[in-house]
Symmetry: C2
C-alpha cells in the first residue's frame, strides 16, 4: 500500500503522533511532487511507524498524521535537509493556514472486518 | 464556521486529541445525518476544544481529530447515549475498518497568513 493511502499499522502504544492540519492555496505549484517525495523519504527514517493522510479537494482542508517511535525520531526527521526545504515552501507557497501538533499516543483500539 | 469544516482553534497545550481514522463502506445508510448530529452534540460537551475532519470521497478514507481538555471529558463523551448508539452503527454498518487513538498533545505551532 502507498504510504498515507490507507490506515497505518502501528504497534502498541506508547508512541508519538504528529498531527498536521492545513489549508491549501490554489494551484499545484510543485506540491503533489513534493508530497510524494516526502512520503518516500519519511518511510525510510529511523523510528517512522506509519502515516495517514487525507485532503478534501473541495475545501482544501487536509489532515496528515504521521506516527513515530519517540521524540528523537521526530526531531531527526525535522532536521532532514529536503524536509526543511519542503516546509519552507509550504510556509511560503502551499498553505494559507496550518497547525502542527505533537502528541503522545497513550492508547489505541482497532476494528477491521 | 461549521465544526470540523476548518482548522480548530485550540488553547495552549497540554490537552488531548482523539484521532479517529476510518474506511467507509459504500452507500450513506444514515451516515451523513448522524455525523451532523454528533458534531452538534460534541461541541456542547464539557471540555470539548475543537474538531477537524476530512474524508476522501474516492478512497473512503477519513480522519477526524477532536480535541479535549482532559481524559475525563473524553470519557464523558464516550458514555453519552446517542454517541454510544452512533458508534454501534459505525461498527456494524458504516466502517469497514477503523482505529481510534487517544493522545496527549504536548506542543503545537501555527501559521496563519
Amino acid at each position: 500500500m502507498i504510504p498515507g493511502q490507507g490506515l497505518a499499522q502501528t504497534p502498541e502504544p506508547p508512541y508519538y503522533a504528529v498531527i498536521f492540519t492545513s489549508l491549501r492555496t490554489s494551484g499545484d505549484q510543485g506540491y503533489g511532487e513534493t508530497v510524494d517525495r516526502m512520503m518516500e523519504l519519511a518511510v525510510q527514517q529511523p523510528g517512522f511507524l506509519g502515516v495517514e493522510s487525507v485532503r478534501d479537494p473541495q475545501t482544501g482542508l487536509g489532515i496528515t498524521v504521521s506516527y513515530w517511535k519517540d521524540e528523537a525520531s521526530i526531531a531527526a526527521w525535522r532536521a532532514h535537509g529536503e524536509h526543511r526545504q519542503a516546509r519552507e515552501r509550504g510556509r511560503s507557497t502551499w498553505y494559507s493556514d496550518f497547525e502542527l501538533r505533537v502528541a503522545r499516543v497513550e492508547r489505541a483500539s482497532r476494528q477491521a472486518r
